[in-house]
Symmetry: C2
Subunit: 423 residues, 2 copies
């Protein structure tokens, strides 16, 4: 018998019928002889509807009250889910973030977990009950106020519970079969990974893979929680995200490449004719950081001897581009650059694989394949186990497929793609 | 400066616009220099919608989870209300039942308040903030579970807060101008009472007056809280419900009659030919009580010497009639009655007034007026300050008007009736 934490997202509990289906799934796990703790998100669009309601009241809702409002969403779904399980003859108890001991700092809307004391959850398990915990929420011990965890909150709740309860596995239920070698919606021949190292999963998530939120993956890696990403629509095994201590178990076949991720959410800003003297780059990125923009790739050309000037390009979330352009423009003379260029029609394609460490030929193979396909690369950046390239947005699908094929990731059959985009 | 508790029902906070209107009203009170604590119900039909959702999941939802579900309704409205007040530049903080220290027993769905420790509410007031408390909910200290107070719950929350905080007055906002001498929807010439004793208010509520829930009136009388029933649609003074200690203040004019209430929610059961021997009535009402039926009036005819048998009639909520009939029928031989008669086309009209104590002529005057109008009385029961009669349901409006006129309660002008039935 093992202790299993299961997380179900909003698309898995969008109405009474789907809540009953999820309840049956939980009961099946319990029947199989396991202890079960569930973290659940708000039903379907509840969070959006509550947000709209708040904005009808005020364009800038008070953060404390906004958290109080949003957390009702998970309370509704967890109560309904517990009712459904009870009606199947199994004991179940729902717990709010505070009842489950999800202690956070006081940053309303984006709180960080500082401690998890699931005393009542443990009691429920000891009494043979299934514990249902509201995802996405916690409470601050000092103010005794309710908080929300922000993006990826429900996944993080599940991982935090799994860590605190020393669960054997944390199952993240989603609307795809697991982690794929590429987005099946873009690459028909993408195939599901049976397992992927948490290190690779981190890079894939950072590179744009949507299936898991990077925050939850980091938490799981730090707390040494094994994740199992699987579909709430089938009973097939999904993808195991394992940590270093279990590497031997999974890396027999020593995979060179885990997959190809793409990201269309970024824009590129290029600062041309920057005097190639110390401190200029620092000045630029200090200004950008001051705007709270999250810089991803940075590339600086070698400076032209003739002019002694250089070009600096960087990518950042599209939403942050405008204010950064304004700030830089405002300091043009100070920095002494020639011009600013902004391009939001770009996309990033990343090849991720721990095998890169020991395999020097990967980048050469990548560029060769792209060259053969006549794909022009704009920017390149690499990490120990990742190569990312920036290309024109409309080229992203082709580039992704080309790389996927070049590294032998194509499966013989086409991947099944579900209707829902989910999560 | 005084401390005022204000209660707003669901019809007063049915959408963003009405929430803003209520917020303005609260802010006006604060501006006038008062400390303000607000008890708020769930928005409009939220509670009904959540109930429907629960029944889609299970015909008999688990009580603990059902309370968890329903209490989200008030959390939504209180958070939105606090946001609205904050957006007007005043400090406001919302508190759940447990945060506000509403400690109850563990009877989910119909919990009783056992203690009120509004520490955080007091803190908020001391810091100059307006405290918004979720009505209808509390929590059980032993199980640490969330509970709901059942019918009249939000009014009771307001009264309990007023008592615990020693508020100067508890304002109950509703969709009528106050307590009327009769239901203005039935009696055009009904007029608003400027004040009524809590004793009379208890009798009026018990006799069917809908404006206040009897449970809240009892709590207010026991805890010596002054109530002010007023309209959330106007700024006019409403009706003060005062306790004995303030009688001198209000009873200069010594009113004989407070008003006429009617009740169409009851049915009548008549057991005919009951052997007139000790213990038969006891047997009957033990059986009825066993069904959890709430008996109102009981009338036993003098037994006919010839037969030595008697008839016993009693009234009870329509909903309880069927099961009581079954139970009595099942024990027919044991009790030895002749027949059971059931009539749900009855109505009760009650005349209430503390002046009755000192004025013997009231009942005579009542029966005379009804006789003149050719109204046939079915049952009669009286208390020290109330006379209730049961008539055919279709006669109730006329009987009410006749009595209202006979005791000089008619006003010169017609009462304003609002669209909403509210609360």
């Amino acid at each position: 018998m093992s202790l299993i934490v299961q997380k179900f997202g909003g698309s898995s509990v969008s109405d009474a019928e789907s809540i009953k289906r999820v309840a049956k799934r939980i009961v099946d796990t319990k029947r199989a002889g396991h202890d079960v703790v569930v973290a659940v998100s708000a039903m379907g669009d509840t969070t959006d509807e509550l947000t709209d309601l708040a904005h009808e009241i005020s364009p800038m809702p008070d953060p404390r009250e906004f958290d109080m409002l949003l957390t009702t969403g998970e309370r509704i779904s967890m109560a309904l889910l517990a009712m459904a399980i009870k009606s199947m003859g199994f004991d179940a108890r729902s717990y709010t973030g505070s009842q489950a001991g999800m202690i956070t700092d006081s940053r309303h809307g984006d709180a960080r977990i500082v401690d998890v004391t699931p005393v009542r959850v443990r009691e429920a398990l000891d009494q043979g009950a299934i514990a249902i915990v509201a995802g996405f929420q916690g409470f601050n011990r000092d103010s005794r106020d309710i908080t929300t965890l922000g993006r990826g909150g429900s996944d993080t709740t599940a991982v935090a519970l799994a860590a605190a309860l020393k669960a054997d596995v944390c199952e993240i239920y989603t609307d795809v079969d697991g982690v794929f070698t590429a987005d099946p919606r873009m690459v028909k021949k993408a195939h599901k990974l049976n397992h992927v190292s948490s290190e690779e999963m981190l890079e894939l998530a950072a590179a744009g893979a949507k299936v898991l939120h990077i925050r939850a993956v980091e938490y799981a890696r730090r707390q040494n929680v094994t994740l199992h990403v699987r579909s709430s629509f089938s009973n097939d095994e999904g993808t195991i995200v394992y940590n270093p201590d279990r590497a031997k178990e999974f890396e027999m076949e020593d995979p060179t490449i885990a997959g190809v991720a793409h990201d269309l959410s970024e824009a590129k800003i290029t600062v041309t004719g920057v005097p190639d003297v110390p401190g200029k780059a620092a000045k630029i990125f200090t200004l950008v950081a001051g705007q709270g923009a999250n810089i991803d790739m940075i590339v600086q050309n070698v400076s032209a001897v003739s002019t002694g000037a250089t070009d600096i390009s960087f990518t950042l979330p599209k939403a942050d581009a405008a204010k950064c352009m304004q700030t830089l423009e405002a300091h043009k003379d100070e920095i002494g650059f020639e011009a600013l260029r902004h391009d939001d029609q770009i996309g990033k394609v990343s090849l991720v694989g721990s095998g890169m460490r020991t395999n020097a030929g990967v980048s050469a193979q990548l560029f060769e394949a792209l060259a053969e396909a006549g794909i022009n690369i704009d920017l390149i950046s690499t990490s120990e186990i990742r190569i990312s390239i920036v290309v024109r947005a409309d080229i992203v699908p082709e580039a992704t497929r080309v790389i996927h094929t070049a590294f032998g990731l194509d499966s013989d059959s086409d991947a099944v793609v579900y209707a829902g985009t989910g999560r």
